[in-house]
Symmetry: C2
Subunit: 168 residues, 2 copies
């Protein structure tokens, strides 16, 4: 039962809007939320389906499918199986991986290497004027995503202390 265009695209905005960006791309946001849900609900025997995942994290189903394909790429984060009782699951080892490993698969860990002013040549020797101060904040960000494991986040959600859906 595939959903049929339930969410029409919004109105186009003016040219000069330059709208705000979140920290990560939508794809990465969905990826993290999906991985948390899969960690929560699956193990080597119990799988979860694309539809369950998309419903649980309130994400567009087909787009989420693409992301899950990417995440299951090297079978290091999530594992997929096809066919009638197919679905996605995570091993205990995978659940213990840091959130950073999701960012890496999504190719978004480079965020932490880039110059905040967009200079290709920005470095310790030839820094942009924000470089040194920004470095500290960047280290905190990296530490945060390196330290937190997927299992830890899943446990919080399991305990009812936090949430991974936009739904009320």
């Amino acid at each position: 039962m595939k959903q049929k265009n339930l969410r029409p695209f919004g109105q186009q905005r003016e040219y000069t809007t330059f709208d705000t960006e979140p920290m990560f791309s939508k794809a990465t946001e969905y990826a993290i939320r999906a991985v948390i849900f899969i960690a929560q609900k699956s193990n080597s025997e119990t799988k979860v389906s694309l539809q369950e995942i998309a419903a649980a994290i309130d994400s567009p189903e087909f787009f989420t499918a693409k992301i899950l394909q990417k995440l299951s790429g090297k079978n290091v984060l999530i594992t997929s199986s096809r066919g009638r009782t197919g679905g996605f699951f995570m091993t205990d080892a995978a659940k213990k991986r840091p959130v950073m490993s999701v960012l890496e698969v999504m190719g978004e860990d480079e965020l932490f290497n880039k110059c905040v002013l967009g200079l290709d040549k920005c470095s310790e020797l030839k820094p942009c004027p924000m470089h040194h101060q920004y470095k500290t904040v960047k280290k905190n960000l990296i530490a945060l995503f390196e330290r937190k494991t997927i299992a830890q986040l899943a446990a919080e959600v399991n305990a009812g202390n936090s949430f991974i859906s936009s739904e009320s």
Copy 2:
């Protein structure tokens, strides 16, 4: 002397690339660099032209023009004057404003209010599993951009301690 397509567009990439995002949009990166340069080189009597700015910060000229229009919108950050000896300049008061004011004009200050996992309803009462830890990092980011003034960054560049161009 308008530059003619010196920088052809790159090759198209595969669909599933999900490329990495920097902290800010290109527009905002150029905006910050432009404002630093204008602070450096201008005052109420001495103006700088679009061409000088784009050359100095190594940014696409016409795109930069759009950004400067936006920045001069309320005449609170940069001021523009038309005609033969026209150009852009900043007052001393404007130079003392924090970098955050540039982000505000570019509409990118919302970055600091958004949930890192993209949840609309994420809040203290109903947090996402990264919420509390991420809050601390966010505060550091906000503090950084609130504390640093445009004049401070311009002074660093003036002193030759840092740079705002990608050119070697």
